[in-house]
Symmetry: C2
Subunit: 692 residues, 2 copies
């Protein structure tokens, strides 16, 4: 078995080929009228410009980190591969984000144009571009892991334990990149969105996506840099992190190469299952919202079922018939699907919670806000119970009662199971912003009413899949973080023993307890940072849009074009400036806490961050999602419809929900993984120099 790791390259090849085929399919479609092409070009250029500047800024951070890591490597505190792996992790993650965004910004006008022909055509184009993102992430992730693995094993002849404990440090590059992508992209998209809404919709009274709004292009750019590139980087990190965590635990669990191979094989099988799943996504012309959702669900569920079926023989042959591990994999897959379902329940206007929230608009904005917060807080119950159940089932099924480390391996492999069909899950998620953009283009280019109805149907579906996608992203981040946590414990226990320090992870050990407190604090303060960042960046957009309305004559009559680029530029500057503080905070706190509280405290901190961050992320995403859909529900003619007092209250709720669901909430996914990867890399330093 141990010489078959090359299948990782095969899996990567399949995923990347499929992504290539899908991208050709998208690019072969027509971009539509010159007007549409012009708008699409503006969005594309804005997105490219932002991403270039973001990557330039991130590059500087990477240079600093590589120097730090090189010093650590030089003094023997990390493996000499870490600085290089840090770079490749960041590079592939960035590349995946770049490709995904490139295709998304090419697919938006093509989707709008295809919707001109039929709903099914529109769906296929948008979904194909989502698939490019999904499979690129998976393909590059597998490629990066496998190449490093083969290098370490065959060129440097490392043993299984060394490979595992070294490679788990490689996740930090992807984590760091993801942080900037999620936080920066999240700030960009919501600053543009909030700014455009506050002045355009509320003050000037022009519709959403109106070409007279100077921030409209920035808003569309934001969908791509935040929801496509940011989401891609987020899940790239979870995907790689989960696999590497099982690598790290495998030897301690007594499975050596086999345990690692199962993880990789499962990922490869997931790629194939995802490819097959995509073929089931198609729809008839008269499909309604439910039918559209059903076809996307069908594809995802078929992929999950195929992966589950294939996992049985894989486990049987690779792990010598230890079918408890198969149960662990199943629990991960099931948890992913279940979290998606409950996210939908709490955020979709077809269910009671959001309908109740809509009723609360009748007593004004205050009650809508209270109701939405209460809904979000309440909605944490299901995902937490699901993840809790998955942890217990995977731990005990994998033999945790008899062998603790085998149980921990079970938790890791459950995370890999959950993420194995990421190709298709991410495709349905990245599809959303493309459909959203297509709707915007159709509106701005003044396309036929019929086309807009179709793009609206696609867009509305995109909102639902975006919400469930977020639930999946959070759930997988939590499970990945737990897998990383247990691998950290594994790594640090050896180091502590060597340093003659005691590993005491008991809850009543004060450094552990204080670490948990600090972890919770990190989550709260980080959320505060990202939220006030959006507020500050949005405020600058508000000022600029007001200025343009005032100073550019004829803008309101459609006689003069607004200066779209100025808004894009402002968002870019705002996002880049504002992303620094949270990022630095997220990297510094675990290191400083570690130096004071020691490794025991760090493990407390990781636990505190994971638990509180998970709950907080679910709360924020679901509150935001429910507010968004409440607004949409009213806009579709209920409770007084557009322009009513109820609608105004709902718009306020939605505006508050914007940074909740698209900036602070998703950024927490990164935080909980990043603190783990940072801690893993700096483990030796902490153990050596900590004062406790």
């Amino acid at each position: 078995m141990e010489n078959m790791f090359w299948i990782g390259i095969v899996g990567a090849f399949i995923a990347l080929c499929f992504a290539f085929v899908q991208s050709r399919k998208v690019m072969s479609c027509s971009e539509g009228t010159p007007e549409m092409q012009k708008i699409a070009k503006a969005i594309r250029e804005g997105a490219n410009a932002y991403l270039k500047r973001q990557y330039t800024a991130v590059f500087k951070f990477f240079i600093i980190m590589v120097i730090v890591l090189a010093i650590l490597a030089f003094t023997g505190l990390v493996s000499k591969f870490v600085p290089f792996a840090f770079l490749t992790g960041g590079f592939y993650s960035a590349l995946a984000g770049f490709i995904g965004m490139k295709i998304a910004t090419s697919a938006n006008s093509r989707t709008a144009n295809a919707a001109n022909e039929s709903l099914n055509k529109g769906l296929r184009v948008a979904f194909s571009s989502g698939a490019v993102m999904g499979f690129t992430v998976v393909g590059l992730g597998l490629f990066d892991i496998t190449v490093w693995f083969l290098l370490l094993k065959y060129v440097f002849h490392a043993d299984a334990n060394t490979v595992g404990t070294t490679m788990v440090m490689f996740g930090m590059g992807a984590s760091a990149l993801a942080l900037f992508a999620r936080v920066g992209g999240g700030i960009f998209t919501k600053a543009a969105d909030v700014g455009a809404d506050l002045v355009g919709k509320v003050e000037a009274g022009i519709p959403e996506d109106d070409h007279r709004n100077p921030a409209v292009i920035a808003d569309n750019v934001g969908d791509n840099v935040g929801d496509v590139a940011g989401m891609g980087a987020d899940l790239y990190e979870s995907y790689v992190g989960a696999i590497l965590a099982t690598f790290a635990i495998s030897t301690a669990a007594g499975y050596g190469w086999s345990g690692m191979f199962l993880s990789l094989a499962l990922a490869v099988v997931g790629v194939i299952a995802s490819v097959i799943g995509t073929f089931f996504i198609r729809t008839g012309e008269n499909a309604d919202q439910k039918a559209l959702l059903k076809t996307l669900r069908t594809g995802t569920y078929i992929a999950a079922a195929l992966a589950a079926v294939a996992a049985a023989p894989l486990t049987y042959f690779i792990m010598d018939g230890k079918m408890g591990i198969f149960v662990a994999i199943l629990s991960g897959l099931a948890a992913g699907c279940a979290i998606g379902y409950f996210t939908e329940y709490f955020t979709s206007e077809t269910y009671k919670p959001t309908l109740d929230l809509a009723e609360a608009t009748s007593t004004g904005p205050a009650t809508v806000v209270i109701g939405g917060i209460s809904l979000g807080l309440q909605s944490t119950s299901a995902p937490i119970l699901i993840i809790g159940a998955a942890v217990l089932v995977s731990f005990f099924a994998a033999g945790g009662a008899a062998s603790f480390n085998q149980g921990l391996y079970g938790i890791g492999i459950a995370a890999v199971g959950m993420l194995s069909t990421l190709g298709i899950t991410l495709a349905t998620d990245a599809y959303g912003p493309v459909a959203d953009n297509a709707g915007g283009i159709a509106q701005m280019a003044g396309l036929d009413e019929k086309v807009r109805e179709r793009t609206d149907a696609l867009d509305s579906l995109g909102n639902t899949t975006a919400a469930t996608g977020k639930g999946f992203a959070i759930g997988s981040a939590a499970l990945t973080a737990l897998a990383l946590l247990v691998s950290y414990v594994d790594i640090v226990s050896t180091k502590m023993a060597e340093a003659g320090k005691a590993l005491d992870l008991s809850l009543v050990n004060p450094p552990v307890l204080v670490g948990i407190f600090i972890g919770a604090m990190l989550v709260f303060v980080f959320s505060a940072f990202t939220m006030s960042s959006v507020q500050r960046a949005a405020q600058s957009i508000v000022v600029e849009v007001r200025r343009q309305f005032r100073e550019i004559a004829g803008i309101m009559e459609g006689k003069a074009d607004p200066d779209y680029a100025a808004c894009v530029d402002l968002c870019t500057k705002g996002a880049l400036k504002e992303m620094v503080m949270p990022a630095v905070f997220a990297v510094i706190v675990p290191i400083v806490a570690g130096l004071v509280l020691g490794a025991n405290g760090v493990i407390g901190l990781l636990t505190g961050v994971t638990v509180t961050g998970f709950a907080m992320a679910v709360f924020m995403s679901n509150s935001g999602g429910a507010w968004d859909n409440t607004k949409k529900y009213i806009e579709s003619g209920h409770l007084g419809g557009k322009g009513s007092e109820e609608h105004k209250a709902a718009v306020i709720g939605d505006t508050i929900g914007d940074p909740f669901k698209d900036t602070s909430g998703p950024s927490l996914n990164i935080l909980i993984k990043l603190v783990s990867t940072v801690s893993i890399v700096f483990a030796a330093l902490i153990v050596k120099f900590s004062i406790m």
Copy 2:
């Protein structure tokens, strides 16, 4: 030393005598004009009626619990004293709340009338009534503890360990009562407040505290049942809980009777220090806000300093010169003061955070809400770092490095230190609602402008002390919960060993980890419950007030009286109905989680609840406080003043903040202590019947 525990009775006697003297002082003042007497009577009757019905409802719950506890006692799963102690704990807590509220509702009109004479007179009356509450809580708490102690020691001849581990179970009665008082009172007060504001202020455009508003009496009643009786029960529980927790740990730490005696002696010394502190609270006629605040602070700080000074010889003689324990006590006292300071920094309009928040009103309600949430999230950093530091300092100073249990005793005694001067701390806090009510009465009775200026000054100060008081209540709840947590571990470790189960509190033990997750969930869901309770109850008030405005002719012209009693009645019904679900949830979840996850899981749950609950409570209290003061800041003429768009945005923020700071936030204080006391009482049951 061990035969000197009767000093607890002396301490109780001093406290109760002082409370009695203060109450005579209040009652000797005149109630003012017949109009004022009429209003005060309506408030008093409403408050009495509510409290009676609340206690009746709680009595039923207590009956059920006593039966359950009797069964447990009969089967040997708890000590036979527990059912009785459960009753006395609940009884004294209820009695303290009743007395405090009785005097508060008698002092409101007297304060207004005294303010007619001079500001100093007004301050003295309001403060005296606060002191009645503060010293009654302390006196009854000390009395209950000491009587039980003497009974167990001298009548039943129990040894130190038995006394400690038995008495720690006695906290549950006070916990359960506090839950109902805080949650029920919190729902009552905010339903009335929100309801009165939404219709009266926003829709009908009449000022706050206007006698034409049918909910105005209910609003004033709410201040008493929520902020006086609720707050008193909360701190009664912390006070008793902290002392009992040190009793429980003392023997394991090797201190036996001495460790217990230090805790009690510290409390007695704190009573005397508090009494002395009150004499420093007085003011000149032309005192401004700052001078008023300074005099209250002076009193509190003098009391804390006296307690600190006295603690040194106490520790020296009782603990045989182990002065590390003195350092632990100091860390508790210092933490209490520091948390108060930072709470003020984040919520008072004299500092940057709230001033920045006020600026955000210029872009509408959405940005105010985002800004307030972000401020609250950010503000968790200081209290968490302070509590973290207090835990580490008290643990290590008390000898935690050499003896783990002595370190844990240090954490317990730090909590006692923090709470030792509760008499005066609670007095400054309970003073707030009295001043608030006095202002309302002055407004409703149409007193002279000069009187209202004075009551406004007192009220405004009351808002600041209420905020810092909340900070103190949360901080002490967290430290008490940690002390209870460690005493739980101590108790359960013996029981687990007897049952042949392994106590494994390692963070990576899945039941522990899942327990932490469930704990965090409990906090989020409990907050959701309390918040939506307020919303539902407020909605019913909105409907009723609208009905009265519509149906009672001449109400707006002041020709007909509104039906105040109907609103009081609705609030009562709403609060009693809505408090059941959160209460049951808080009691059931730790028991069910324990039966599934075992004692290890329970300890995880307690940790998760304490950490997340602490952060969440600080967040909610401070967001709410900052919104409140933003509104007041604008109303005092800044940023456009009353009636401006900025003011409207601030009112929305304040309305959202109401349940944050007065219902959900403070209720979490109880939650984190209640789950501990419930778990302690049900420990034997859990150990015996849990499936893990």
